[in-house]
């Protein structure tokens, strides 16, 4: 059972990693976009999937990361990849400031407030609030990233850059899931009264989940800015947040494999059916309704965590 899963994962990774050899530039670029969304959706998965907070403003953190990178690169010529940690940090700080007063809000209220946030951020960017965001046109002329002196510019090069970060993300978030921290988020999602009664500081964990999710979205922002070389407020609208929200719910809350599958379905699949582009929303809507009725836990819900019990002490009476 467990082995079968790993074989599927390994086969998938292999196909994915060799695919640039056979795909044209267009399809490689589609995979790059999917990769960015996988990383973003995984960051939302911490907040929405694991902790159960209905956060529909994730694009705001993505925007903070992308603009941080864009501004500092175009104004001070700091190499884009060096700006990744700072972009994450600023997105995290931003999350810390805005989440603190709203973190205790119940599901639906939180949803409304976070929708408000993402719109405020977008409108602020359009109106060029600090005179540094370039207004509705955004910022252009962002440098391509360089690694060991090699400039990353073709879709094929970006493919490996983006999916490298996706792999690192998966590795770290998997560990995060299988830990005291990851469990605490699940306890809060399942029953916050029982979680508090078991000694878990609910607001603290909710806040940290928010911040980690935001930091990761900030990292994605850097990659996005580097890939596009132009960013504009419209890339971070409410609809982006909805897509991310949908990916997590559809794929399976708290499930890395589910979120990856969800991203391929929601972001990748429509590319195959371009001629039906106008029906996209209709299909999404219908699929979501059907899913919520028949499989509310998502397509690939996470399997229960396993623990190596053989390593724990034997019961006394067995001695």
């Amino acid at each position: 059972m467990k082995n079968k899963r790993w074989i599927v994962y390994a086969a998938f990774s292999l196909v994915l990693l060799t695919s640039p050899a056979v795909l044209n530039r267009y399809w490689i670029d589609v995979l790059n976009v999917v990769g960015l969304y996988v990383m973003l959706s995984l960051s939302l998965n911490i907040i929405l999937g694991h902790c159960g907070m209905f956060h529909m403003g994730h694009a705001a953190f993505y925007a903070v990361g992308a603009y941080t990178t864009a501004i500092l690169n175009t104004v001070y010529a700091i190499p884009v990849l060096w700006l990744m940690p700072l972009s994450g940090l600023l997105a995290g700080l931003f999350a810390l400031v805005i989440a603190r007063p709203i973190i205790h809000l119940r599901g639906d209220y939180l949803l409304i407030v976070t929708i408000g946030f993402v719109e405020i951020v977008r409108i602020a960017l359009i109106n060029n609030v600090f005179g540094i965001t370039g207004g509705a046109n955004g910022i252009f002329g962002i440098d391509r990233p360089t690694i060991f002196g090699m400039k990353i510019s073709t879709p094929g090069q970006f493919f490996y850059l983006i999916w490298f970060f996706v792999a690192v993300t998966i590795y770290l978030l998997r560990k995060l899931e299988h830990s005291r921290f990851g469990r605490a988020l699940n306890y809060i999602r399942e029953d916050d009264v029982a979680a508090a009664g078991s000694g878990i500081d609910i607001s603290h964990y909710k806040l940290i989940a928010f911040v980690i999710g935001a930091v990761w979205a900030g990292f994605c922002g850097t990659l996005f800015a580097a890939k596009m070389t132009i960013i504009a407020p419209e890339s971070f609208n409410f609809w982006e947040s909805v897509l991310l929200f949908m990916i997590v719910l559809l794929g399976g809350r708290g499930s890395i494999a589910g979120v990856i599958l969800g991203t391929f379905l929601v972001i990748g699949l429509p590319e195959l059916f371009r001629q039906f582009a106008t029906a996209r929303m209709l299909v999404f809507g219908a699929v979501m309704i059907i899913m919520m009725i028949f499989r509310p836990e998502g397509i690939l819900p996470p399997p229960p965590r396993t623990y190596r019990l053989d390593r724990t002490a034997e019961p006394e009476e067995a001695a």
Partner: protein, 254 residues
Amino acid sequence: MTLLHLENLTKRFGGLIAVNDVSFDVAEGTIVGLIGPNGAGKTTVFNLITGNYRADSGKIVFDGRLINNLPTHKIVSLGIARTFQTIRLFHKLTALENVLAGCHCRMKSGSVAAMFQPPWQRAEEKKALDKAMGELRFVNLETQAMNLAENLSYGNQRLLEVARALATEPRLIILDEPAGGMNDQETAQLIDTIRQIQARGVTVLLIEHDMSLVMKACEKIVVLENGAKIAEGTPPEIKANRRVIEAYLGTDEE
């Protein structure tokens, strides 16, 4: 020595006085029962102790420390653990993970340690795992470790809540109707378990409608009616108390 001291505790819900000027002590190492008719305010007293509700007036002193205004998780880490009258498990998680929730407050590792898993973090996880398995064994649920909590029988779910509470390493455990929904055999087992909890040095305060359990297990009983304390004493004293008998059998006066 007094472990828990309640003094003139009052809690109102709108016009209803759910807990009315209640005072009593729980001595360390004892098993104390809190009884009373439905709606007497027993669960509300528990919710005040664990910080789920804030008292309108009065004091709650645990181990010499005023805990009235502390958040629930702080109170748990000070050493008070509870179970719920309406079972509140993490239904979609395994029994083992439910107990690991209790271990949480005695652990340290945070998100960064989780991602990079240094040796001390792994040692801590292993220790918690051992502890959680130990508590499952204590309530005879070790074979259920990998089952989802929602798949356990009603009686076992109650025991799982006890295991989770014990995993917080409490000095005082408060049980809200632990025998609720249990059959006679399970209840007899439960009395045994409660005594074993006491033997571990944990003080027990419990709410229970099953009088035979209360009379058998408790050294002291506090009786509430309509939010107010009407009696306090040993089981024989309570059995003989006129006001208690009236409260339970009902009188025509009201």
